[in-house]
């Protein structure tokens, strides 16, 4: 239903766009139903085309599915399923869209945080229509300012080695904004790149000169990204240059520039992983983690790992921990058993990722500070990373078999651990996720039975997944509750391609460390849909989570999972009585 509406909305919006700012497409995100309803109406009164959702996760998914669907995002700061600042970061980095923050909290430090995270504006609630009438300026401003920036500069910055936390964050902010600024040159075009004039360039330099005529933007599908990562892994992350990557990928109509810019982003992504992971290194995730959210997007590196025997723990990252400052996140980097037993229905695309996830499940990714520190770093802890991955993973079948069999490549750098940002959604969300557009990967002849489990688990209802797990592995999902896994689309595509490609090398590194550790029990056949972000939630019987669960309860007048666009508004609520 949402898709239909979106399409209708998008079609209508297309005509409106000519009369910008009339018809400017805004995505509004706020968990407070009252605020959201008022905000949406205010925005429509400004003649914008509005899509509203009360869940950041859904917002992310929509953005990832098609970032061209929106011109601007307005989001609340305090949301239960995701910190607004994190959403802000991700959107800015990944989609290069202006984001406006909303909050009742007008304290300077909070506003400052918004700005440093890249918000182009910060509004206090209650929002006045006068303020909203001007927000279109941010869209225009961004387009103008990015036109002149040089991608070359960005590249330099983006490739600085990870430094301390604060420096890292600063770099990221700079990098993120730089990356953002470079993007508009390639925005608004669909699918294949058309200009290949750079193909013959043998300079080997990354050269995304933004002053060149606008190039069509390449959509990095799951398959494409997988090839990319495979190539990068093959070359070695440090030695991967766009030209060689392009050669290895052997994709028609892909230019070195496409690869170069993608590589930039990929490096940013990796750096985020390593920075966050290193911050969390040393934290051993509590098994059966208390965190309601399980990040699935770190599974990337786990693919290819085939030793299901060794216990691995899927780290469960508190969503807030992950999303918020990593410093505050006390969740273990190590993947604990939680995830594995939870089959995370990730939607069709997770086909490829499932096997990976299973592999990932067996990883013990915690070792802090040792030479496997990178492993820890591989754990994706920030949504930002997830977003990056997601972006890189659209539908598309990947070459799973190569990934899975790629045992020989170990770049020693763990990619992300699948981390699923969960939300207290019910299994119906799983269904929703399964319908997310994802290419089903051809069954990989994985040596381990868990693969099959994974495949079977993919996209299936949580119940199915669970049953398969028990069938095949005799591992009882520890505390797994079918209902507990919610897959939210956002991360969906990510994990898949990511893990599939990057995992090969990582897999080896992981397996080595895994065999040595037995303290983690990861249920085999962990079907953490790394890619399918669907948001598997690791719900542990925790009152904290109860709070989240109740959020989505039918108590609320509005369906918590409701996403509606301006063209369709539930307008018959008036008949209700106040008293519930």
């Amino acid at each position: 239903m949402m898709r239909r509406d979106e399409r209708r909305g998008a079609a209508a919006a297309a005509t409106c766009r000519d009369q910008f700012p009339v018809g400017m497409r805004v995505l509004a995100v706020d968990d407070d139903p009252v605020c959201l309803k008022v905000l949406e109406t205010l925005l429509r009164r400004c003649q914008y085309h509005v899509t509203a959702t009360n869940q950041a996760i859904i917002a992310l998914r929509m953005l990832r599915e098609n970032r061209d669907m929106f011109d601007l995002v307005i989001s609340d700061v305090h949301m239960p399923d995701m910190d607004g600042f994190k959403l802000l970061e991700l959107v800015g980095l990944e989609m290069d869209l202006p984001v406006i923050m909303l909050s009742v909290n007008g304290e300077t430090k909070t506003v400052m945080k918004g700005i440093t995270h890249g918000a182009c504006d910060y509004l206090l609630k209650p929002v006045r229509i006068e303020e909203l009438k001007n927000i279109w300026q941010h869209v225009v401003r961004r387009k103008f300012s990015t036109r002149d920036s040089l991608n070359a500069d960005m590249y330099e910055e983006c490739n600085k080695p990870p430094s301390s936390d604060s420096d890292y964050l600063y770099d990221q902010v700079k990098c993120g904004s730089s990356v953002q600024s470079g993007r508009p040159n390639k925005k608004r075009k669909e699918y294949h790149s058309e200009e290949e004039d750079e193909d013959g360039d043998s300079s080997g330099q990354d050269n995304d000169d933004p002053s060149a005529p606008k190039r069509p933007r390449v959509v990095w599908s799951v398959e494409l990204h997988r090839k990319f990562v495979t190539a990068v892994n093959h070359l070695g992350i440090d030695k991967a240059v766009p030209k060689r990557i392009l050669e290895l990928m052997n994709v028609e109509k892909l230019t070195r520039e496409n690869v170069a810019s993608h590589l930039q982003k990929y490096r940013v992504y990796l750096r985020r992983l390593s920075a966050v992971a290193s911050q969390q290194a040393g934290i051993v995730a509590a098994l059966g983690g208390r965190d309601p959210f399980l990040r699935m997007d770190a599974f990337e590196g786990l693919q290819g790992y085939q030793a299901f025997t060794s216990p691995a723990a899927l780290s469960t990252f508190g969503a807030h921990g992950l999303l918020n400052s990593p410093r505050n996140n006390q969740t273990a980097v190590v993947i604990q058993g939680v995830a594995t037993s939870r089959s995370i229905p990730t939607g069709s695309s997770s086909c490829t990722t499932n096997p990976l996830i299973g592999d990932a499940a067996n990883y013990h990714l915690s070792p802090p500070g040792n030479r496997h520190g990178n492993l820890a770093q591989g754990l994706v802890t920030s949504l930002g990373q997830t977003q990056l991955e997601q972006k890189w993973m659209n539908e598309g079948s990947g070459d799973l078999s190569s990934i899975l069999s790629g045992s020989s490549r170990a770049n020693g750098m763990p990619r992300m651990l699948p981390s699923v940002t969960s939300s207290p959604l019910l299994p119906s969300d799983l269904v929703e996720c399964t319908q997310a557009q994802v290419a089903i990967q051809p069954p990989v002849t994985a040596p381990s039975a868990s693969l099959e489990q994974l495949e079977g688990a993919i996209g299936a209802s949580s119940g199915t997944l669970v049953s398969r797990v028990s069938q095949q592995n005799a591992l009882s999902p520890s505390g797994f509750s079918a209902n507990g896994l919610l897959v939210h689309g956002s991360l969906n595509n990510y994990g898949a391609s990511f893990s599939s490609n990057g995992a090969t090398r990582l897999g080896d590194a992981f397996s080595a460390s895994f065999r040595q550790t037995n303290d983690f029990t990861v249920p085999r056949g962990m079907k953490v849909g790394s890619s399918s972000f669907g948001g598997a939630i690791h719900l542990s019987p925790d009152t904290t989570e109860q709070k989240y669960l109740s959020f989505g309860s039918s108590d609320s007048l509005l369906d918590p999972k409701l996403v509606w666009s301006s063209s369709q508004l539930p307008s018959n609520i008036g008949a209700h009585h106040f008293m519930s």
Partner: protein, 151 residues
């Protein structure tokens, strides 16, 4: 049925709410958003508000009991509530939210409890009055007329 009289009553009820500080300018902003496209907008928002705030108050009440001195948690709930209140213009409630949060900041349990009780009272009063208001409007005229904001 004297529709004009009912409308007058509704208008007077609403005026009272403003005069006594239950509602503020933001409520008028919400009213302004009601139009032919959303003829019941104000009532819809109010319904959502009371449902959501009722839930938050219940949760907070449980939290006050279950998590003694957990000011962070309490404050988080109250921040949500404050957001709703300010979006709809529930002024007195909003003030109680703020004083509650101040008490949290000072780690003053009695202050919190006191504010919370006041908040609940304000919530109940506002709910009852607004319900009467909309009821009057409904009675005051045919379907279309009833939804027009009464000045």
């Amino acid at each position: 049925m004297d529709y004009s009289n009912l409308r007058r009553q509704a208008a007077s009820l609403k005026k009272g709410l403003f005069d006594q500080g239950h509602l503020d300018e933001q409520f008028r902003q919400v009213e302004d958003l009601q139009d032919e496209a959303s003829p019941n907008f104000v009532e819809e928002v109010v319904v959502v508000f009371f449902k959501d705030s009722g839930r938050l108050i219940t949760n907070l009440e449980q939290a006050l009991e279950k998590y003694p001195r957990d000011f962070n948690r309490w404050d988080a709930y109250m921040q949500q509530l404050k957001g709703s209140c300010s979006s709809i213009g529930a002024s007195r409630m909003k003030n109680e939210c703020m004083s509650f949060r101040d008490s949290c900041g000072q780690r003053n349990v009695e202050g919190c409890m006191g504010s919370f009780q006041k908040l609940k009272r304000e919530h109940a009063v506002l709910r009852q009055k607004l319900e009467s208001y909309f009821q009057l409007l409904r009675q005051a005229g045919p379907a279309g007329a009833a939804t027009r904001p009464v000045m």
